[in-house]
């Protein structure tokens, strides 16, 4: 109190008022530092959550684009320009047309410098004028830089050219020699300036053009590799003799996702422009861009849905925080009302501090969102992918800020109405009705979503449904809402039941939950957070396991080597020798045609090498191997030039019959038949000579009875030929050695062909093989053969093959497929699966040895592979041993590479964001719970002190509060865990990431129970810690002075 001297105003009124306003604001923020900090953090998270998604999406878009368009060779994505058929254009005009292609990185479509080719068809003539070979004369931009010259140099003038070494050898041409070519009928002489190695020819530079087609002509004259000439060599040729071509690489590294539409338009415009100039222009990049667009679309929806859930959770938390902060500002509002402030001014008072905090939090939140997106992008996206803060992110930040302000306003409304005494029962009833309607809507929406998603999502026929990612949030919200309604009711009933018991703490805790609706609402937030974490963890592990399984399955095994096998090498035997353990390598052959794919595997090693995940209803790999390779007789191998057979013809047959022995040389794919006989009654040795192929080794494939038939119509038209084959031997020039033919062993031979209506028979005895051939003139002869292959080759067929009517007759397990040699093969497809390793869903798998035994032609169309198991490591040792046997590896596919590629797919990148969201939501829920308790600490402390004043022990109060918090946390935890696991169980199959992985083996959605238990236990521990801290806070605040303060 003072003398009343007034300080002279030292500053203008407006500035003074600004100072007062600012001072008041700062004092208020300082006074409520804790709640202001919580609000600031939640607002920060809201903006960060909203911006991280779009920023990550933009970066992921770019990553997917780069992942799809950069790896393919330039030929796959570039622009190929040719002359229109039948039209020729001057080379200068051709180049001028292409000069108009945009090269600037800022252009809509950006191209690198074209690679021009001038090609003229030529005949190589001998000095006498005979056509020795055909070849293309080629001049291609920079060709000499990409050819490896063995001798000489690049042609430099119109009269010189370079030739491949193998072509030179064929044509007997040397460096410096003169080659005469006929181009368009006119002869020209060229000097050979250099010899190049054709081995250097394959590569990206050549765009797959057939310049190195040595030996590919099926008819004479032979074709030789291209003759590379200087462009000036074409000057003298008429334009119609020269085909012009330009290969224009697209600058795929410079492609930006945001510019794709413009790029497409630019590319189309250029193709149209070139078309108007009389050229044919086309690019394969469209298919890649369509793939990119598809992935980006799935990614956009998924990320938006994931981000939306986090944003909604943040806004819910913000709503609660704002409500509690506003309740803490009730005195400010009451005073403002007392001083006659208008409703607008009251809102200004209510929102003043949150608005200021939002203004500060928005840019910082946007920066935090960018950092989160950057960290996620560094971990998940292709290295070097830019992470831009684009206009979409800015818009998201603004929208999130506005949404946060709206949530704050909504949260503050109750306190505002309370301050103006405008919260009578009528308004509350309306609010309650609206709240109930909203909750009913949420529950109905969640139910509808679950029904819809479970209908489309469970099973192998799952359809891509990005909204499936919304399931955990939606179901958890519904579960939380139901729990928040049901639990207080249950608590009320339970408390009433035990109110006369000695369980005072429990009763108090139950009463609080039953009557204080604020705290139970925390259960909704906890439920959503726990659900998101459970779903993201389940999704992560299911995804990882499926990705790994699918990568191995689609590859075939851990590593698959495509090999080149010399004709003299027994492929299966060589692979077995390269891996004597039988655990590391397996031989396989694949052949495809329009009807499907035949996969032949070395069944003995299948179980230990091939990737064979469990498929519904499918057998184990060991059972598959046993099924494919049943016990059969050994094959009958003959090695030598002379075949001797001891045969006892037990009855005279007229005219005299013979036997035709069929043998097959696998290495050369050559079959031959030799005749034994004519047979004479009684036991005799018969000699016959095999062709040179069997000096290595041949399989004895069949023995066919041959009977010349009756000489006159009066004679019988059929004959019974009873013989006993006692011995089969071969000689290599020295002495005859018996062949292990199993003649005296039962089941080693069987009748494979009989004339219609006849029944030849065989039986084994100690002395040999007894056979009774029933021969009918003019009909197919009876045939017996070693039973070294099953009568019907056992095969594993896919459901697709089984469902195609062209294969498999109805009601039968027999399917006709194309064998490795291209001939028809009937198999017994008794075992069915959804898909086969490496070859997919339209395929048949048989045993390789059986398939090879069934071959009658060389298998030139099949691809030979060596599958390596993880036990082979990098496979270097096996590869080395294969190389020693002459088997060269031409390419390697690995499951890990494919898995890495899966990881960079758009839907995967989108789904990975869920883990980040899970962590963020867990932090939010924890913070929200802590704040909810902290905000009511003072009130709780007053109540606690009052209860202690009436004699309640401190221990009882602590137990009561622990009971209350335990009920809330357990409600949220259980509701969240159930919702999260249910969402994962029902909706994961519809998440685009998983539908994108389909096509191989059926995906498995077994829940990672162990990890989910860890998550739930971790959440329980975290919530327990939060509850303990809260109890401690209230305990510390429960000092007797609280009663006095309360009274005041």
């Amino acid at each position: 109190m003072t003398d009343g001297q007034l300080p002279k105003p030292a500053e203008p009124g407006r500035r003074r008022f600004q100072r007062l306003r600012l001072g008041l604001l700062l004092n208020a923020l300082r006074f409520r530092a804790g709640s202001s900090a919580v609000f600031f953090i939640v607002a920060l998270l809201a903006v960060a959550a909203a911006t991280a998604g779009p920023i990550y999406l933009a970066a992921a878009d770019q990553s997917v684009l780069a992942h799809v368009v950069i790896p393919p060779p330039p030929a796959a994505t570039g622009l190929v320009v040719n002359e229109q058929p039948g039209q020729s254009i001057l080379e200068t005009a051709f180049r001028q047309a292409l000069a108009g292609l945009p090269r600037s990185p800022t252009a809509r479509a950006c191209f690198a410098a074209p690679i021009y080719s001038e090609i003229a068809g030529a005949q190589v003539l001998s000095p006498a004028g005979q056509v020795l070979a055909t070849a293309d004369v080629v001049a291609r931009t920079g060709d000499c830089l990409h050819l490896s010259f063995v001798s000489g140099e690049c042609p430099s003038g119109p009269g010189s050219l370079s030739i491949s070494t193998r072509s030179a050898a064929l044509l007997h041409v040397e460096l410096g020699a003169t080659v005469t070519l006929s181009i368009g009928g006119s002869k020209r002489a060229y000097r050979v300036s250099g010899l190049y190695s054709p081995a250097s020819a394959p590569g990206k530079y050549w765009w797959g053009q057939d310049f190195f087609a040595f030996g590919t002509s099926l008819t004479p004259p032979p074709r030789v590799d291209a003759l590379f000439a200087d462009p000036s060599a074409f000057d003298a040729l008429a334009p119609h003799l020269v085909a012009l071509n330009a290969d224009v690489p697209v600058n795929t590294r410079g492609l930006l996702s945001s510019q794709l539409p413009a790029f497409r338009r630019g590319l189309s415009a250029e193709e149209l422009r070139l078309g108007r100039l009389g050229l044919l222009a086309g690019s394969g990049i469209g298919a890649y861009l369509a793939d990119v667009a598809s992935q980006q679309q799935a990614m956009t929806t998924t990320i938006a849905v994931i981000d939306l859930q986090l944003l909604l959770l943040v806004l819910m938390v913000l709503f609660g925080v704002a409500g509690r902060i506003a309740a803490g500002r009730d005195q400010d509002l009451a005073l403002a009302n007392l001083r006659g402030l208008s409703p607008g001014a009251l809102w200004a008072v209510a929102l003043r501090e949150p608005l200021v905090l939002m203004v500060v939090a928005a840019p910082l939140g946007a920066a935090l969102g960018w950092l989160v997106a950057l960290a996620t992008a560094r971990a998940e996206l292709l290295a070097g992918t830019p992470v831009p803060f684009d206009s979409l992110a800015l818009a998201a930040a603004l929208v999130a800020s506005l949404a946060a302000i709206a949530a704050t306003a909504a949260g503050s409304r109750r306190a505002l109405l309370y301050s103006t005494d405008r919260s009578p029962a009528g308004r509350s009833r309306l609010g309650v009705a609206l709240g109930l309607a909203g909750e009913a809507f949420v529950i109905a929406l969640a139910l509808a979503a679950v029904v819809q998603l479970s209908a489309s999502g469970v099973g192998p026929q799952a359809r891509s449904q990005p909204l499936a990612a919304l399931a955990p949030g939606l179901i958890a919200l519904a579960a939380g809402v139901i729990a928040a309604r049901a639990v207080p009711l249950g608590c009320r009933l339970f408390a009433a039941a035990i109110r006369f018991s000695a369980k005072l703490a429990l009763c108090l805790g139950l009463q609080r939950v039953a009557h204080k609706s604020g705290i139970i609402r925390q259960a909704v937030i906890i439920a959503i957070a726990v659900s998101l974490v459970c779903f993201s963890v389940a999704g992560f592990f299911v995804d990882r396991s499926n990705r790994s399984m699918q990568a191995a399955f689609l590859t075939g095994s851990d590593r698959v080597l495509t090999v080149s096998v010399p004709p003299t090498v027994d492929f299966v035997r060589a692979v077995r020798q390269a891996d004597p353990s039988g655990r590391e390598a397996m031989a396989a052959e694949v052949t495809s045609n329009s009807q499907g794919t035949l996969l032949a595997v070395d069944a003995a090693r299948f179980a230990r090498v091939a990737a064979w995940p469990n498929q519904p209803g499918a057998a184990s790999p060991a059972a598959v191997a046993r099924y494919l390779d049943p016990l059969v007789a050994s094959d009958v191998l003959v090695q030598g030039g002379t075949l001797e057979m001891t045969i006892d013809l037990r009855a005279a047959v007229s005219p005299r019959p013979s036997l035709v022995v069929g043998v097959y040389n696998e290495q050369y794919g050559a079959s031959q038949s030799v005749t034994v006989g004519p047979l004479s009654p009684g036991r005799h040795d018969y000699l016959t000579w095999l062709e040179g192929d069997c000096l290595s080794v041949c399989q004895l494939k069949s023995i066919t009875a041959s009977w010349p038939g009756p000489s006159t119509d009066a004679q019988p038209q059929s004959a019974q030929i009873p013989i006993e084959i006692e011995r089969i031997a071969v000689s290599n020039g020295a002495r005859f050695e018996d062949v292990a033919a199993g003649l005296s062993r039962r089941g080693t031979w069987r009748v494979t062909q009989d004339p219609p209506g006849q029944a030849s028979s065989i039986s084994s005895s100690t002395s040999g093989l007894d056979a009774l051939f029933s021969y009918v003139a003019g009909q197919a002869p009876p045939v017996i053969a070693p039973a070294d292959v099953p009568e019907l080759l056992p095969a594993v067929v896919t459901d697709v093959v089984a469902s195609l009517s062209a294969n498999g007759p109805t009601g039968s397990a027999q399917y006709s497929v194309s064998d490795l040699d291209g001939t028809p093969l009937t198999v017994n497809g008794a075992m069915r699966v959804a898909a086969l390793p490496a070859v997919g869903t339209n395929a048949v798998m048989v045993d390789l040895n059986d398939a090879l035994r069934d071959e009658t032609l060389p298998d030139i169309y099949s691809v030979k592979q060596v599958w390596l198991s993880p036990a082979a490591g990098s496979g270097a040792a096996v590869i080395g041993r294969l190389l020693k046997q002459g088997i060269r590896v031409t390419s390697i596919r690995t499951a890990s590479t494919l898995e890495l590629a899966f990881q960079k797919d758009g839907p995967t990148l989108a789904f990975e964001l869920f883990l980040v969201v899970g962590v963020e939501s867990a932090l939010l829920a924890t913070g929200s719970m802590l704040f909810a308790i902290a905000a009511t600490t003072r009130r709780r402390a007053v109540e606690a002190v009052a209860l202690r004043a009436v004699g309640l022990p401190r221990r009882t109060l602590v137990k009561a509060m622990a009971c209350e918090l335990g009920i809330v946390c357990a409600t949220g935890l259980v509701a969240g865990a159930v919702a999260g696991i249910a969402a994962a169980r029902f909706c994961l199959p519809s998440v685009p990431e998983f539908t994108g992985l389909s096509g191989g083996a059926p995906l498995r959605f077994d829940m990672p129970v162990g990890w989910l238990l860890v998550v739930v236990a971790g959440a329980a521990a975290l919530l327990g810690a939060v509850s303990a801290i809260s109890v401690a806070l209230v305990g510390a605040a429960s000092t007797p002075d609280k009663l006095r303060i309360s009274q005041r």
Binding site: T2, Q5, L6, L335, G340
Partner: protein
């Protein structure tokens, strides 16, 4: 009534009065007629005021005296337009409060009626300085272009200048009460309603508060209504109205006590008289030339002399 409010709006935009201008404006008069107020407590209707009649002249200082729960604070809130009476009329400055809209009532509180609630803390923003509290209390008036003094001037005029920059939560209870009174007059109201201004103050602080109220009345000319249960405060007021059981029971003017005849003819007896004539006592009323003689009825004999009451 709305015309009066409209006049408020049309006032000069000059919002800040000159420093040290001891301009006395005329206080508002207030008239309460047959005022009844009920409120619901735990499902039961409780009568807070039952037929209060009261006239308050412009510029008058009046104490509403009575024990707790007699309806004093309710009466104050009704006068301030914070609540609507169940029945009866309240006319403030010639305006019937019942006929004013909520917006007009807010304008009234922002410009013409200052209210200081019981417990100084409820009138103040605890985190703000005294000057900021004054400024905050003037916000409504400033928005209506109502003429108000600089916050520092308000404090200076009430000799509270040294407290201007101090955060009120750090002030003593007495100082907080003084600042609360200053906040009440921040918008230069014509009617100041003060609820229990001395309830938590010691004697010295109480005297300071009373002195400040007097100063406000003298310097601003405001009509001041003080609710108190403290007879010392009431004694310091020129006029005291005693509220008992929701009615005006007695009135003191310049130190002399008077009973008030209610609208229904009832008279509330002072406590000391109640010792002689306890409730439910049978009394004989005899009219005297200068008043009324009230004696305990002795149905079996003559009245006992000296046990009656004569005004």
């Amino acid at each position: 009534m709305s015309g009066a409010v409209g006049r408020l709006r049309r006032r000069s935009p000059a919002r800040t009065a000159p420093v040290n201008t001891a301009r006395r404006h005329i206080g508002l008069d207030a008239h309460l007629r047959a005022l009844v107020h009920l409120y619901t407590s735990e499902g039961f209707q409780v009568v807070a005021l039952r037929g209060v009649d009261l006239d308050i002249d412009p510029g008058e200082m009046l104490a509403l005296l009575g024990p707790s729960g007699t309806g004093k604070s309710t009466l104050l809130k009704l006068l301030g337009g914070l609540m609507q009476p169940t029945a009866g009329r309240i006319v403030v400055g010639g305006r019937e409060l019942r006929e004013l809209s909520s917006g007009e009532l807010r304008m009234l509180r922002a410009t013409e009626v200052g209210i200081v609630l019981q417990d100084a803390g409820t009138n103040l923003l605890p985190y703000a300085t005294s000057e900021q509290n004054i400024w905050f209390a003037q916000l409504g008036a400033r928005r209506l272009n109502h003429l108000v003094k600089e916050p520092a001037d308000v404090l200076g005029q009430l000799n509270l200048g040294p407290l201007a920059a101090q955060q009120v939560s750090r002030l003593s209870g007495g100082e907080q009460q003084l600042v609360a009174l200053a906040v009440g007059v921040a918008a230069s109201p014509s009617l100041l309603l003060v609820d229990e201004p001395t309830s938590q103050l010691d004697a010295e602080e109480r005297d300071s508060a009373i002195a400040l109220l007097r100063a406000i009345n003298e310097q601003l000319g405001s009509t001041i209504v003080v609710v108190t249960h403290d007879p010392a405060v009431a004694a310091a007021m020129p006029r005291t109205v005693t509220i008992r059981d929701g009615r005006v029971g007695a009135e003191g003017r310049h130190g002399e006590e008077f009973a008030v005849v209610g609208a229904d003819g009832s008279v509330q007896l002072p406590p000391d008289v109640l010792e002689v004539l306890p409730p439910n006592a049978l009394v004989r009323i005899r009219r005297q030339p200068d008043g009324v003689d009230l004696r305990l009825a002795d149905l079996e004999g003559a009245e006992s002399p000296g046990e009656g009451f004569a005004p």
